[in-house]
């Protein structure tokens, strides 16, 4: 342990001596406060906060990722190149202990930097409402829609496969099947259309959703939604009526034990909006009906995208959510450290950096990359399935575990989600990389010169 610690400590010193570490740190220290002042969002304090958190955290995470890649690769390849390693691994330290020391050093440094920058971001965010001296309305909005952590109930995904198959059979009987499409594709297409239809309200018509297990911890719950329209309205707004309450009362109009919330609104399309609803409308059963009514004057069909409608309620506070976000970023850094160390056990500095950056970018857009590969694969076939896809799947999904996705809409980032991230990204994927690095490094000829 003593020797691992010695290597770790030395690694930190080495990293701090590296110019780019200092440049990055200064850059961040300068940029974060500037971001805090310059971000405007939609001019409300909530908008400012959202933009700041989104940019600030993304920037910090991005720069720290780059820094981690650079440091972890530099610290190993440089020791090999400058041959300090000759006098280290001939001491009673095993090669995997040497790598562990390097890993520990980089991760400790990452933790230190991450804590510092998180504290700065957190402080700026908390201080921002005071700085702008906002009025109480905006402040209240920021409190309930930003400085909180809300759990969400989403519309349960309906499965239309049965209906789609029936429709397919009918089309087949009528010989009206489209050409160039396999049966599976046709069914998928029909299914998709039915999904969209189920989330659409015709002109002068409405949609009703029913949610279960609604347990408010605070005075209000929120409905968060986004409109999509078939035909743009003149002022890009939708006139609507929202009705929320006990399902029975809502459907029959009979008054129940709890009041029913009814309100007309005008909301712009294509952006997310939130409606605050007092918790008293929720009946004891925890069942809640939500109805959207599309006024005829809109003269268009209104649709809700896949994740465009949910019921939110407070489940935790902002601070805890923020801490969990930072843990997500840390797991990402741990993975990148392991990746950097693995590549530097067999590649030189520039090559290792290049490879790591490519993998980092791929992991950052893994969802998109996988999707587009899937699309491609129809043409490319097995070659792709057994090579690229495999590599992409081995990479962690940085985009899935992106903390700003949670902090901006003040969504609850649950411990179980964080645990899942740690399990996959750190315990499995990072560990695999590390074991591979240990193996390669143990059997490598350290003094071999490759020209």
């Amino acid at each position: 342990m003593n020797s691992i610690w010695a290597v770790a400590k030395n690694t930190i010193k080495q990293a701090l001596r590296m110019k780019i570490a200092v440049v990055f740190i200064i850059l961040l220290l300068a940029l974060l406060p500037v971001l805090g002042v310059s971000t405007t969002g939609d001019e409300t304090i909530k908008g400012r906060l959202q933009t700041f958190i989104s940019y600030g955290l993304s920037l910090t995470s991005f720069l720290l990722c780059l820094l981690t890649i650079a440091i972890s690769i530099y610290t190993v390849t440089n020791d090999i190149k400058e041959k300090q390693i000759f006098t280290i691994i001939t001491k009673p330290i095993r090669r995997f202990e040497f790598l562990t020391g390097k890993l520990l050093g980089v991760i400790l440094l990452d933790m230190l930097l991450l804590v510092i920058f998180s504290i700065i971001i957190y402080s700026i965010a908390v201080y921002m409402p005071k700085f702008y001296q906002v009025n109480s309305v905006e402040l209240a909005q920021a409190k309930t829609e930003f400085f909180t952590a809300r759990a969400a109930l989403v519309i349960p995904q309906q499965d239309f496969t049965e209906q789609a198959r029936e429709r397919f059979n009918k089309l087949k009987a009528e010989d009206a099947l489209p050409e160039n499409m396999s049966p599976a594709e046709v069914i998928r297409e029909i299914n998709n259309q039915m999904q969209v239809l189920s989330r659409a309200a015709d002109i002068g018509d409405g949609i009703e959703w029913e949610f279960e297990n609604v347990k408010p911890l605070a005075d209000s719950i929120f409905i968060r939604f986004k409109y999509e329209v078939l035909q743009e309205t003149p002022d890009s707004r939708i006139y609507s009526r929202w009705v929320v309450g006990d399902p029975h009362s809502v459907r029959t109009g009979e008054p129940g034990k709890t009041p029913v919330f009814v309100q007309d609104y005008r909301h712009t399309t294509e952006t997310f909006h939130e409606i605050e609803i007092p918790s008293e409308v929720i009946p004891e059963s925890g069942k809640l009906a939500v109805v959207f009514y599309n006024y005829p004057s809109n003269d268009t069909v209104v649709m809700f995208p896949k994740d465009g409608m949910e019921v939110l309620f407070k489940a935790d506070n902002f601070t805890m959510n923020f801490i969990r976000s930072v843990i997500l970023i840390l797991s990402r850094l741990v993975f990148l450290t392991c990746l950097g160390i693995l590549t530097s056990t067999f590649l030189s500095f520039p090559v290792a950096i290049l490879l790591c950056l490519v993998l980092f970018v791929t992991a950052s857009f893994s969802g998109f990359v996988l999707e587009s590969f899937d699309f491609l694969s129809r043409n490319v076939g097995i070659l792709y399935t057994y090579t690229l896809k495999w590599i992409v799947q081995i990479l962690p999904e940085f985009d899935k575990y992106n903390p700003t996705k949670f902090l901006v809409p003040a969504r609850l980032l649950s411990w179980s989600f964080v645990g899942q991230c740690i399990l996959f990204m750190v315990c499995i994927k990072s560990f695999l990389l590390l074991v591979l690095a240990f193996l390669i490094f143990t059997y490598r000829e350290i003094a071999k010169i490759v020209v």
Binding site: S3, T87, I88, K448
Partner: protein, 409 residues
């Protein structure tokens, strides 16, 4: 027979990028280095000395054959804990200072904090870098870096010390010190593998040597046996009258032998040490290494002491070496007058008596070890030959004309 280092037809072939054999760096090498032996591995540049060492230490994998160190594998931490290694060049972390560097290596050996601290100070003192110990190693001159490298190799009080060209870049005092150190360590039962092409270093300290060429051993054997010229005799005297010289001449003529007579030349080494000593006595300041020929206490401890570690830990640092502490303070002060102990040491080194100590004592010990009960006269002759070999070719011719040789008494 117990060998400290043993290789069995060790071979290293470097191949190029395409896997074609390019260089036979080490070729079917069979070395046996006995425990408690000072072994010199000689050879011209590129003869495979460094490659052999790298294979011993597990930094390179042999293409064929195998090697053992202290009866084990060179990459086994248990074996590594008993080995000191000074690589061909000093590969140090430029941003650490001397003390931090040694502390780092001490930690790699898992030395307890107290022992580590004590040894670091002792070693810094020994290699003369105490006064500059807080400067980063990157700013050191080549020789200063070399000294830190040496200190690093000694921090675990190794049983087997592998030195790859330890004296490159070192000033003569440093060189002298390394030689003394090697002899001291050998007396304590340590084994030393010394790689060099500086013959002067090797012949002064080594019991046995092997000469490599093209990765193959060309000759191997005891230094004495290889170098002794059994057909020559050498006599060195104090100043004597011409009349006596004439008498001796006659005696020698009677035996029909050739001879020459000169005044002995001082060796440049002793001259250099004396000059530096004078400068130090005048307390001129230096920001380089402060050379002494002192050797750290912990390295000089009798090998019979069961656990040197225990002894070191049990006695407080100051008590352990009061002399050393005073020295350090004075040295750091730079311009203050020279400390007593230091002066003694240096004058011992350079004075007429001291000169003999430098050249004679080690040799005597060596000879004794090699062959007990050797006649005094023979030993002197032997040393003369050694000295001749050390000096450069031009001066050697000159010396050969001079009867008295270049003895230093």
């Amino acid at each position: 027979m117990d060998y400290a280092v043993e290789t069995f037809s060790l071979t290293k072939i470097f191949s190029d990028w395409w896997g074609r054999a390019k260089v036979y760096a080490v070729d079917d090498l069979n070395l046996q280095i006995r425990t408690n032996e000072v072994f010199g591995l000689l050879g011209p540049n590129g003869s495979g000395k460094t490659t052999t060492i790298k294979m011993l230490l597990g930094l390179l994998h042999p293409t064929k054959g195998k090697c053992l160190m202290l009866g084990g594998d060179g990459s086994d931490p248990k074996i590594n804990a008993r080995i000191g290694f000074l690589p061909e060049e000093s590969y140090l972390y430029r941003y650490l200072n001397a003390r931090e560097t040694l502390d780092f290596y001490g930690r790699l050996f898992k030395l307890p904090a107290k022992v580590r601290k004590m040894r670091i100070e002792a070693l810094l003192d020994m290699v003369g870098l105490k006064a500059v110990a807080n400067r980063s190693v990157g700013t050191y001159s080549k020789g200063m870096a070399r000294r830190i490298g040496l200190a690093q190799a000694l921090i675990n009080d190794p049983e087997l010390l592998i030195l790859d060209e330890p004296t490159t870049g070192l000033d003569p005092i440093g060189t002298r010190q390394i030689k003394d150190l090697i002899i001291k360590l050998a007396q304590r039962g340590k084994t030393i593998l010394l790689c060099s092409h500086l013959l002067a270093d090797v012949e002064d300290v080594c019991d046995r040597i092997a000469i490599l060429y093209g990765g193959k051993i060309q000759t191997q054997g005891q230094v004495r046996d290889l170098l002794q010229q059994t057909n020559k005799r050498q006599i060195t005297t104090d100043v004597i009258s011409d009349a006596t010289v004439e008498k001796i001449k006659k005696l020698i003529h009677a035996e029909n032998a050739e001879f020459e007579i000169t005044s002995p030349m001082d060796r440049l080494e002793s001259f250099f040490i004396r000059t530096v000593e004078t400068a130090q006595r005048q307390a001129q300041s230096t920001s380089g290494a402060v050379s002494t020929t002192k050797i750290s206490d912990f390295l000089e401890k009798d090998a019979k002491v069961e656990s040197i570690l225990d002894k070191l830990v049990s006695s407080p640092v100051v008590e352990e070496s009061p002399e050393k502490v005073i020295t350090t303070e004075k040295v750091e002060a730079g311009k203050s007058d020279i400390p007593e102990p230091n002066k003694q040491l240096l004058s011992e080194l350079t004075g007429s008596k001291a000169t003999s100590r430098i050249d004679k004592t080690p040799k005597e010990e060596l000879t004794e070890k090699v062959e007990a009960g050797e006649a005094n006269q023979e030993e002197k002759i032997n040393r003369d030959i050694l000295n001749r070999l050390v000096s450069s070719p031009e001066s050697q011719e000159k010396k050969e004309r001079q009867a008295g040789g270049d003895g230093d008494e």
